[in-house]
């Protein structure tokens, strides 16, 4: 069908009208469109419908009211944790990628390059478990701190609260952003860096003045993707800090598994989506700026 339409166009360019070209184009993208509609648009629409539908089947905001009543703290807690994690991830990724690009010791660079990627291959649930054993009151971190005499055994405290979640998120997501960032830095012209050092710039100045401005876009994309990913992680908060205040994902799971309360769960999901949209706005703004800048 499509093949013959193409043939016809080539042989009779005058007769073949715009309409048939459009038809062929639609036919071409139809399978992809169907998949998107069926698996993405339809569930999202259902979720929206359920979130706004009352017991009588009419429109209501009661589920959102309930969500805010019960979970405002958790929503703010979630936002705070994800924003803090995103900022820390940025700092860690810049430090590692910067050292990989500008570092002076080839052996350290090789070791770091080999080491930093490991968390990429570890699922969130395993990361959560690792942090439990690492950050608990009698966990590895406190053992090391006490053993080295840095803290008293009595003052050892569990870090399995919001701090634990942030540590787990940064540990898991920083390598991802580092990977993107180091790639972007590696593709910079090395002479850009040499020219700066030649003019008297120390490594730190080179990083801030020359390298970072040129990879800003990549950093932003990596951070936005991490931001959205962290918003949707259930396992880490569930394992490290399941008690209130906790992250919205835990609340959604709780509404569904304990109360079979899909309307409130969907309302919470939509609120998460709104948070994710903040990241999307950043991303789109940058993309638009790039198009304008050529």
């Amino acid at each position: 069908m499509r093949g013959s339409a193409g043939e016809g166009q080539r042989q009779h360019p005058v007769i073949t009208g715009k309409a048939s070209t459009r038809g062929a184009a639609l036919a071409l993208i139809a399978p992809a469109l169907a998949v998107v509609a069926l698996f993405f648009v339809a569930p999202l629409a259902m979720s929206v419908v359920v979130a706004f539908r009352g017991k009588d089947g009419g429109f209501t905001l009661e589920h959102f009211a309930k969500s805010f009543d019960f979970y405002t703290t958790d929503l703010l807690f979630t936002l705070a944790i994800v924003v803090a994690s995103t900022l820390l991830i940025g700092a860690v990724a810049i430090a590692i990628a910067g050292y990989l690009t500008l570092g002076g010791n080839p052996r350290t660079i090789a070791v770091l390059r080999w080491l930093y990627r490991w968390p990429l291959f570890i699922p969130f649930v395993v990361a959560g478990q690792l942090m439990r054993t690492f950050l608990a009151k009698n966990g590895m971190l406190n053992h090391v701190l006490i053993g080295s005499g840095l803290i008293e055994p009595l003052s050892a405290q569990s870090l399995l609260d919001w701090r634990g979640i942030v540590v787990a998120f940064v540990w898991k997501q920083a390598p991802f952003v580092t990977l993107l960032l180091a790639g972007a830095m590696a593709s910079l012209e090395p002479q850009h860096i040499e020219a700066a050092r030649n003019l008297g710039a120390r490594r730190m100045s080179v990083l801030i003045d020359i390298v970072l401005p040129q990879v800003r876009g990549t950093l932003l994309v990596g951070l936005v993707l991490s931001f959205v990913t962290m918003l949707s992680v259930l396992s880490v908060p569930l394992m490290i800090n399941p008690n209130s205040p906790t992250m919205v994902t835990v609340d959604v799971a709780y509404r569904i598994s304990t109360h079979a309360d899909y309307p409130v769960a969907n309302a919470l999901c939509l609120l998460s989506l709104a948070l994710a949209a903040i990241g999307a706005v950043f991303y789109l703004r940058h993309a638009a700026a790039r198009v304008e800048g050529g």
Partner: protein, 355 residues
């Protein structure tokens, strides 16, 4: 400019400002650096151009390559182990390496900013540079909007703004059109004389080197093979390699006759008695005035003629040698011709000195 002795990289900048282009290659290098040079050469040769270490040498002066042994001195100061940012050299890169996210003024001011200059002092110096390079009014423009020649000048301004002890130029003209290159060559020479800065200029372009240089170092396979004034390098090349490089492209084997003259080699002459003779195609002539007594005369057939704008260039087949001759008049291919080479035009090298 550079003194190579044994396996050491030694270089000294003279207090007297001068231009010292490095032609093809680098000073004698130690093992590690040599391996680096070779690796570099291999990588380059894959691209079809020659790399014999001249850029590596420049980079080692700038501090991007660390030599295993030897010392690099600028104005008596040993900079061998200093990091690049502490060397007070300014390098101009082949690709210019201007930072695309900065304006022209920011690019030029960067080195000053790193030296902690005050804002208005910096602005004044940038203005001075823009004026020097005839780029007035270009300050706020993004560098991405400039032409090749303008970028080259901005790169020059960025290097000169910090008033470096030593200016390093790595084939800075190779990305430009021929016409722009000719203009900039003279501009650059005038500029260098005016500000009186010592510069090391790497090029593979003979004309560029001769135009710009106070002293030329010719480099072959990681070694300086001759160093001297342009006239000296041009007229008294120390080896067959330098002679060939400097445009004496005719190479013949000759032998000394009993009365002290020179003759073409016949089959029976052993290699150790042969002398390598180089001469320029425009030093020889085709027939015309009768030969002087000690001129060398070859008889052959014109095998090829090429019009080169100012006259013709002929390939004359004489015996089993090809001789290139430049002549103003047109001669048909296939005619018999006499090539006359004045004795004074011959550059002679014993066979074993040829590289």
């Amino acid at each position: 400019m550079m003194h190579g002795s044994g396996r050491r990289v030694t270089s000294e900048a003279y207090s007297r400002p001068e231009f010292a282009p490095l032609l093809d290659g680098a000073v004698s290098l130690d093992r590690k650096l040599k391996r680096l040079v070779q690796r570099y050469a291999r990588a380059r040769s894959r691209l079809g151009s020659s790399g014999c270490g001249k850029t590596t040498l420049l980079r080692s002066i700038a501090g991007f390559v660390l030599p295993d042994s030897g010392t690099i001195k600028v104005g008596g100061r040993d900079i061998t182990r200093l990091p690049p940012e502490a060397r007070e050299t300014a390098m101009m890169f082949q690709s210019y390496a201007l930072w695309p996210h900065m304006s022209v003024a920011d690019n030029i001011a960067y080195g000053l900013r790193m030296r902690g200059w005050k804002k208005d002092a910096m602005a004044a110096r940038v203005e001075e540079m823009l004026k020097l390079l005839q780029l007035q009014g270009f300050g706020p423009r993004p560098v991405t909007q400039l032409s090749g020649g303008q970028r080259q000048r901005v790169a020059m301004g960025r290097a000169l703004a910090v008033d470096p002890h030593l200016l390093l130029l790595d084939e800075p003209m190779s990305n430009l059109d021929y016409k722009v290159r000719l203009e900039l060559r003279h501009e650059l020479r005038a500029l260098q004389k005016r500000i009186g800065i010592t510069a090391v200029y790497v090029t593979h372009d003979r004309e560029e080197a001769l135009t710009l240089a106070d002293r030329i170092a010719v480099i072959d396979a990681g070694r300086i093979v001759q160093i001297g004034a342009p006239e000296q390098i041009f007229h008294q090349p120390s080896s067959a390699f330098v002679a060939g490089f400097m445009g004496a492209d005719n190479a013949l084997d000759l032998v000394r006759t009993e009365n002290g003259g020179l003759a073409t080699v016949t089959n029976g002459v052993p290699p150790e008695q042969r002398i390598r003779a180089h001469f320029r195609s425009d030093a020889a002539r085709l027939d015309g005035a009768p030969p002087a007594e000690d001129d060398l005369v070859f008889t052959g057939t014109v095998a090829q003629s090429v019009y080169v704008g100012q006259g013709y260039r002929y390939r004359v087949r004489a015996g089993n040698a090809d001789i290139w001759v430049h002549a103003p008049e047109r001669v048909a291919e296939g005619t018999t011709a006499r090539v006359i080479v004045p004795r004074a035009a011959l550059l002679l090298f014993s066979k074993d000195s040829s590289l």
